[in-house]
Symmetry: C2
C-alpha cells in the first residue's frame, strides 16, 4: 500500500456520504464544501496512524472522515468571520448562499462530525469523544485568539505559537491519536503520534508564513506578500518586531498610519527589514526544530519501520510543498 | 419533592458550571447567556422523567443540563440569524460583543453540550449521543425551514406544524426520553414520554401564536399583534389564509404592498378576519388536541401516579401561563 491507496479509500468514502436532504438549503452547502477537495490530510493521518498497528482499516474510515468534516465545518464558520470571498478558488458558502445558511449548515456539520465517531466500539467511545470534544474546543479557542491578535499590539511570539497550536496543530494531533486508539496502540504510542501531529502542524503553519514572503509566487499559488499587506501578525513579523532597531520598527509600522501607499513598496520595505534581521533563516530554523521534534516522536513509536516511513514521507511531502 | 425542589437542584448545578476561561471573549458570552435565566424547562423535564422510574437523580443532573446548554446555543445562533437585539430583556450576545464572537462562542457551546453527555454510563452512551445528535440536527432543520417560510408564499399548515415540531418540540421530547433512559425505563415508556414532550411542545408553540393576538398584553409581556405586524406565518395566519374568501384574503395580504400604514389598523383588520373565520376557536381546538395527545401518552407510562402528576401539573402550568 502506498499513500495513494489510502487517499483513494478516503475519497471513496467521502464521495458516498449523505449528510441529509431536507431542507436542501441546509445540506447542499455541506456537500458543496466537502466536495471542494483539498488533500484530506487529517483522515489520511488517521488511516496511516491506524495502519501502524494493524492491517484492518474499515472501522477507521468513518471516524477518520469525521475529522475532515469537523475541519470543513471550522473552515465554513471561519470564512464567515474572516469575510473570505473564496475557498479553494470557489465562492465561500456565505457568498454562494448567505450568511444565515452558512452559520446553520456549519452547525449541522458539527453535529454530523460527532455522528461519524458514534460507530466506534463501545469501550473506546467515551475516550474518543472526550478527546474530540477537547480538540474541537481548542480549535475554537485558537480562532478566537487569532481574531483577538488582529487588533492587539501586544502579541508575543509565544502567544502566536500557542494560537497556531490550537487553531491548526491539535486537530492534526487528534487525527493521529485517533487512528492509534482505533487500532489498539499503547497509550504511549498514541501520545507520541499526537505529538508528531502537533509538531508537524506547527512546522507546517510556520512554513506557510515563510512562503508568503519568500515563496515562488507561481508555485505558491498566492500573491507573495499577502500577509505583509494584510498586516498579519505572522511568525516573521513578530520576530522582526521583537528584534528591530527603533528605525527598523518605524519602517515596519509606518504603513499602518498611511492610507495611501504602493503595495509593492510596502512588501519591498518590510521584506528588506526581514532580510536585515535574517528572519528567513530564523524561521527556517524554527521550522526545522518542530519538524525534528515530530520525526523524533514518530521514530519512538513501536511499529514497523516501513509503515512509519509512509507517515514520515507524507510529512516530508507536506514540508516540501510550495503551494 | 415538588417541582421547586427539582428546579433548585438544576439551578444549583447550572450556577457551578465552568465552560472554560481563556480566551475570555469565547467563554464570557456562554456564562452570560446561561445566566439570563429562563424556566429551565428542558432539564426539569429530564429530571421529572427520570424521577418516574427511580429516586436516584445525581447522575441525571449533568446530562439534563446538557439539553439546556444546547437550547441556549440554538438561541444564541438564532438571535444572530434573526438580528434580534434582545433576549430575555437583555442585549443578545452579538449585540453585547459582536457577531464573530457570537458565532464562535455558540460553536463552543455546542461542543460543551456534547461533553455534558459524556458522563453517561458506557452501556447507554451511544444511544444517548445518537438521539441527541439526531435531535440537534432536527432543531437546525426547523430553524432553516422557519427562515425559508419567511419568504415563501406556499406554506401549508402541515408545513408549519412540521417546522415547529423540529424547531421546538423534538428537544422537549428528547429531554424526557433522556431522563427515562437514564433511569432504566422500558423502551415503550421512554417513547411515550418522548411523545408527551413533542405534543406538549407543539401545543405550547400554538398557544404562543394564539397569545400574540388574543393575549392580555400586560400579562403576555409582549406587544399584542407583534406576529401580525411582522407578517409571521403563524398557525393563525395560515389557517385564515386557507379559509378566507377572496375578499378576506385581500385584506390579509394588502398590507404587504403598502409601505405606510398604521400598525393598530393592520392589527385590527387582520384580527377582524381572524374573528370572522373563528380562528381563535380553531387554534384552541388544535391546542387541546395536542395537549390531550400528550396527556394520554403520559397516562400510559408505567410509573407511580403521584410522580406522573408532577409532569402533568408542569404541563398544565405551561399551558396556563400568559407570558
Amino acid at each position: 500500500m502506498d499513500i495513494a491507496d489510502f487517499s483513494k479509500r478516503i475519497n471513496q468514502t467521502i464521495s458516498t456520504l449523505s449528510f441529509g436532504d431536507n431542507p436542501p438549503e441546509l445540506y447542499e452547502p455541506i456537500r458543496y464544501i466537502m466536495q471542494l477537495g483539498g488533500k484530506r490530510i487529517r483522515p489520511l493521518l488517521t488511516l496511516l496512524a491506524a495502519h501502524l498497528f494493524a492491517d484492518e482499516l474499515d472501522h477507521v474510515l468513518l471516524p477518520a472522515v469525521g475529522t475532515e468534516v469537523f475541519h470543513n465545518f471550522s473552515l465554513l464558520h471561519d470564512d464567515i468571520m474572516d469575510k473570505a470571498p473564496l475557498r479553494r478558488g470557489k465562492p465561500t458558502v456565505h457568498e454562494k448562499w448567505n450568511q444565515n445558511i452558512a452559520i446553520l449548515s456549519g452547525d449541522v456539520m458539527l453535529v454530523r462530525a460527532y455522528e461519524f465517531f458514534l460507530g466506534v466500539e463501545t469501550s473506546k467511545l467515551r475516550k474518543v469523544l472526550t478527546l474530540f470534544s477537547h480538540t474541537a474546543a481548542q480549535v475554537c479557542e485558537g480562532q478566537q485568539f487569532d481574531m483577538n491578535y488582529e487588533s492587539s499590539q501586544q502579541v508575543r511570539i509565544s502567544d502566536y505559537l500557542h494560537m497556531i497550536t490550537l487553531k491548526t496543530a491539535v486537530l492534526l494531533g487528534f487525527s493521529l491519536e485517533l487512528g492509534a486508539i482505533l487500532n489498539n496502540a499503547s497509550e504511549n504510542d498514541a501520545l507520541l503520534l499526537k505529538n508528531f501531529g502537533i509538531n508537524i502542524g506547527i512546522a507546517f503553519q510556520l512554513r506557510d508564513d515563510l512562503l508568503d514572503v519568500y515563496g515562488d509566487s507561481e508555485k505558491f499559488g498566492k500573491q507573495v506578500g499577502g500577509d505583509i499587506l494584510a498586516d498579519k501578525k505572522t511568525f516573521l513579523l513578530l520576530t522582526a518586531l521583537e528584534q528591530a532597531t527603533p528605525a527598523q520598527k518605524e519602517v515596519l509600522l509606518k504603513f499602518k498610519s498611511q492610507t495611501v501607499y504602493l503595495p509593492e513598496q510596502k512588501i519591498a520595505e518590510v521584506t528588506a527589514i526581514y532580510d536585515q534581521l535574517q528572519v528567513k533563516a530564523q524561521t527556517q530554523e524554527k521550522i526545522n526544530f518542530y519538524f525534528e521534534e515530530a520525526i523524533q516522536s514518530l521514530h519512538a513509536v513501536h511499529a514497523p519501520n516501513e509503515r512509519k516511513e509512509l507517515l514520515e514521507n507524507l510529512a516530508l511531502d507536506l514540508m516540501a510543498r510550495e503551494s
